[in-house]
């Protein structure tokens, strides 16, 4: 494979030679991936892979209108570049007007690290994890889980002189432990697989399985509930995905306000909670610029290379921003706001141990699962509790409880939350295929709606 930087240059040179388009954007992403999966104390699948994605976005401007052609290919043969560029140009010339047209982000020359080698990964990344797991496999609890490492380096360049580069490491380890009918889960996000605390995760799992020595059957109903950070992350990430400005402005999302307009400015809670994304958040670093081959209500190809900065989606309990690419922001008279690939919620200060101690009778969840929209107008979501619902009585965990199906809206959870814990790094269990970078608090919900009992263990 030729270096990614050379592939970028080949695409721009081919576009310049053909001269058929006014502007060309090229995005080359090199991806290295390693995975390891196990079940019942034995490895099941594994693998390493090396791949490249080359996106060529051609723009033809005709007077006030712009027309876009976008192709993405994993072909790495340099001889295929001319064909890719020509097909992208053909698509642009045949395309109807783009309604998100804007000037491209101006060029600023190549960054200092542009020519550096691309980092990779491999099965060796799991050496320490495998050692600790191997010891765990020899004990009596049955272990299931997954370790995953992906290193993606993206090079973005435009015919107008913009050059940007970013390396995104994404790693996670999830362990599910079972003992008899009891099941527990622990997971962490670990970008570079440095010092993964598998031993302490196994100890935490053993403690949780001990909590399940006593079991109590509870019926459906509303319960005072402590939602730990991974469960808050799964619900708030869904909220974040639902915060498109256009949809809210047009009256077709839960962020639309009665009487027209959006819910920006609505106070959800007296708790001083701030939910934001920030590409520079410590430990959760992610791409500080837009790179996309496909337009949507959240992203525009014309914004490629644009800075992504911190955005407070909720500030001090009040909805404060919605997602707008530049063209949509201009259309609705607001400022562009693009989400970084992480999500944080701050403002809480309680320790989980204190929150448990202050609970007379309630539930402590472990994770949520199979979350789907039931009613988009209220953002009512359904889902299941999974791998540990624990009963708190007089400030202590006294038993494990059956699982439940819940029906709840993340907006309503924020409206009803009475206490927030200290923000902690967490792995969102349901959405970890797409979202591993989160910092969230524990939330106390006085009346979490468990709609029915699930027999699942």
């Amino acid at each position: 494979m030729i270096p990614a930087q050379d592939a970028v240059d080949l695409v721009l040179a081919a576009a310049a030679t053909s001269g058929r388009c006014d502007e060309t954007i090229v995005i080359v992403t090199d991806r290295a991936e390693a995975s390891l999966r196990w079940a019942g104390n034995s490895m099941t699948t594994n693998g390493v892979s090396t791949s490249r994605s080359t996106a060529v976005i051609s723009i033809v401007r005709k007077g006030d209108t712009a027309h876009v052609g976008a192709l993405r290919s994993s072909v790495v043969d340099p001889d295929a570049v001319d064909g890719l560029v020509a097909a992208s140009a053909d698509a642009a010339h045949a395309a109807p007007e783009a309604h998100d047209a804007a000037l491209l982000t101006p060029g600023s020359g190549s960054p200092a690290d542009w020519g550096d080698p691309v980092p990779g990964t491999g099965a060796g990344a799991f050496a320490e994890v495998a050692r600790a797991l191997s010891a765990g496999f020899g004990r009596s609890d049955r272990l299931y889980g997954f370790a995953h490492h992906v290193v993606e380096t993206t090079f973005l360049a435009t015919s107008t002189g913009l050059r940007r580069r970013f390396t995104q490491p994404t790693g996670s380890v999830e362990i599910n432990a079972k003992r008899g009918e009891a099941s527990a889960w622990a997971g962490i996000s670990t970008p570079w697989f440095a010092e993964v605390p598998v031993d302490s995760m196994l100890a935490d799992l053993a403690m949780r399985l001990d909590w399940a020595k006593r079991t109590v059957e509870l019926p459906a109903g509303r319960y005072e509930t402590l939602m730990p950070p991974t469960t808050v992350a799964d619900m708030m990430i869904y909220l974040g995905w639902s915060m498109d400005g256009r949809g809210a402005q047009e009256g077709r999302t839960a962020l639309s306000a009665p009487g027209g307009g959006t819910r920006v400015g609505e106070k959800l809670t007296e708790l001083p909670l701030t939910m934001y994304s920030d590409p520079f958040a410590g430990g959760l670093e992610c791409s500080p610029f837009v790179h996309t081959a496909a337009g949507s209500e959240r992203m525009s190809v014309f914004d490629n290379g644009m800075d992504i900065s911190r955005v407070d989606w909720i500030r001090d309990g009040t909805i404060s921003s919605l997602v707008y690419p530049r063209a949509a922001a201009a259309e609705f008279g607001t400022t562009a706001a693009v989400p970084a690939d992480n999500l944080l919620m701050t403002g809480g200060s309680a320790d989980l141990a204190d929150m448990v101690a202050a609970t007379e009778r309630g539930l402590l969840l472990t994770t949520l699962w199979y979350i789907r929209t039931v009613d988009p107008a209220t953002l009512l979501l359904t889902g299941l509790t999974r791998d540990g619902v624990y009963l708190i009585e007089d400030g202590e965990i006294t038993a494990a409880v059956n699982n439940f199906r819940f029906n709840e809206s993340p907006l309503d959870l924020l409206r009803r939350a009475t206490e927030a814990g200290v923000p902690e790094p967490t792995l969102p269990r349901e959405w970890s295929d797409w979202a591993t970078r989160a910092v969230m608090p524990t939330l106390r919900i006085p009346d979490f709606h468990m709609s029915s009992v699930s027999q699942a263990q």
Binding site: R72, P96, E97, A123, A257, W369, R405, D412
Partner: protein
């Protein structure tokens, strides 16, 4: 299988040289078994919002994958490069992965036997290759379809916004293994969808309705014209149905008799039967992610899954089925078999490792990988509920209900990690009174335990009600893999299913 050939562009790749290089390097490295897969997936996604282009992207993903068994342990490696050197290097990487991680393996991998297929070719049946239709032509058609729905806005039918999308896929695979099989295959699939939204700005609420046209393993003929799906009729009636829905009463929650249309029931089959009869789930391979199953091996041939009218088959052979193929990702020829017979649980979905584990002589061909960069795993075949011998119509089933709901079209779905407790919504809910339809209802969801639900099935419609639904996006495994799968079913009548009012569920 059609009389078509695999595209020349794919056949022009050095497939044999890649296989020779990979398989010989694997064996030289100590592998007792190896397979090579060259996998190409071309996807075009076109999306319009309110009749205007939002996005059109053509995506081509191609690479090679080598899977080996070394001392009874799997190893896997893939690469985007398609040269013999890279194929050999990937084989050595796969051997290296198996050796590096072998200490974690406690179960020796063994494969069930399968005949060898040399130089086999299979191509799916479709009329118009969607990649011979220009993007511009696709956009024009979706503009026209969107316009028909938006015309409802001008006519006062209340359609404020329309989204339209079509996703077309061509998949090409070359497979070779050290047993001697070499197989080349090609298939296409198409998924169209349009959704209309009506907004009540004063109340800050909205309602939507989506077309019922299912995704299918056909070509562009799925979208253009009325031969495969009656677009003329559906696009004409959808604004009217949506306007009626916005004015309809909210449902009264409680046990309710349901007649469920195939356009909704396919998804309930997918979640509560399709996933529950995956053998890898049943023995815990998905315990930390997709989940396990209540249908464990000790219940095979004894557990009552549903009422005696319940007969469910699995196949990779049904015409235009999304999981239909000639040979699976381990070179096993496509088959069909029973999962539930007369209400009793009788079968699983298997690959070559799981067939051996279950004590069977042969796999039923459910191995699949969604790209070159993912290891093949056991995935769902087409899983279908069979129609009754008597050709009861949907109207016949409705006539048996004095107070109930006829549910049409899928929307929201969720089921627990052992496939017991599920909850579904839909696109259209028609009240049934005294055996006849009587307007629509809103805010409906149904919630049940799998075996309770299927045991409450009193009657199934006949062959004339049977229809193939399906999805492009069935998710499983880590790293996550998607798969396209179809589910055929008749209309069916269920007694006393728990219906929820979703507004009450939200505390409003």
């Amino acid at each position: 299988m059609s009389s078509r050939n695999v595209d020349g562009e794919f056949l022009a790749l050095p497939l044999r040289q890649l296989a020779d290089a990979a398989l010989s390097a694997a064996v030289a490295g100590g592998a007792s078994y190896a397979d090579l897969r060259v996998h190409s997936i071309t996807t075009e996604t076109v999306q319009l919002r309110d009749g205007e282009l939002e996005s059109a992207v053509l995506d081509r993903d191609i690479g090679l994958a080598v899977r080996v068994i070394v001392n009874g342990t799997w190893g896997f490696a893939s690469h985007a490069g398609l040269t013999p050197d890279i194929a050999a290097e990937s084989a050595r990487h796969a051997v290296g992965v198996a050796v590096t991680l072998s200490a974690l393996n406690a179960e020796r991998i063994e494969l069930a036997d399968e005949p060898v297929y040399r130089d086999a070719t299979w191509v799916s049946d479709y009329r118009i290759d969607p990649f011979t239709v220009s993007t511009a032509e696709k956009i024009v058609l979706l503009e026209e379809y969107s316009g028909r729905l938006l015309a409802g806005k001008k006519n006062g039918a209340g359609v404020d916004h329309v989204s339209a999308m079509v996703n077309t896929v061509k998949e090409q695979m070359f497979y070779a293994d050290t047993f001697g099989s070499s197989i080349t295959q090609q298939r296409v699939r198409t998924m169209p969808a349009l959704e209309a939204v009506t907004v009540d700005a004063a109340a800050g609420s909205f309602e939507s309705m989506r077309t019922l046209a299912p995704p299918t393993a056909r070509g562009w003929e799925t979208v253009a014209g009325d031969d495969v799906w009656n677009w003329t009729s559906e696009l004409a009636e959808l604004p009217v149905l949506l306007a009626e829905k916005t004015k309809s009463p909210s449902v009264v929650a409680g046990p309710t008799d349901l007649v469920i249309d195939p356009t909704n029931l396919w998804l309930t089959i997918h979640e509560s039967i399709g996933h529950a009869t995956e053998y890898d789930r049943a023995i815990g391979y998905e315990a930390a992610y997709a989940g396990t199953s209540f249908a464990t091996p000790d219940k095979l041939n004894t557990m009552r899954y549903g009422s005696p009218v319940m007969n469910v088959t699995a196949d990779r052979t049904v015409e235009h089925g999304l999981a239909t193929i000639g040979y699976d990702a381990e070179g096993v020829a496509a088959q069909s078999w029973a999962l539930v017979r007369d209400g009793i649980f009788v079968g699983y979905q298997l690959d070559r490792v799981f067939a051996r584990k279950l004590g069977l002589a042969r796999s039923n061909g459910c191995s699949h990988a969604d790209s070159a960069h993912h290891v093949p795993i056991q995935r769902m075949p087409n899983v279908s509920l069979q129609p009754g011998r008597e050709d009861l119509s949907t109207r016949d089933l409705i006539s048996r209900v004095s107070d109930g709901i006829y549910i049409v079209g899928d929307k929201s779905w969720s089921i627990d990690m052992q496939r017991y407790n599920f909850q579904f919504t839909g696109q259209r809910f028609f009240r049934i009174r005294d055996g006849r339809l009587d307007g629509q209802l809103r805010d409906v969801a149904y919630q049940a335990v799998t075996t309770d639900f299927w045991n409450s099935m009193e009657a199934v419609g006949g062959p004339s009600t049977w229809q193939l639904g399906g999805a492009f996006n069935c998710g499983k495994a880590q790293p996550g893999q998607i798969a396209a799968v179809s589910h055929g079913c008749p209309s069916a009548l269920f007694r006393g299913v728990n219906v929820l009012n979703t507004r009450e569920e939200s505390g409003r």
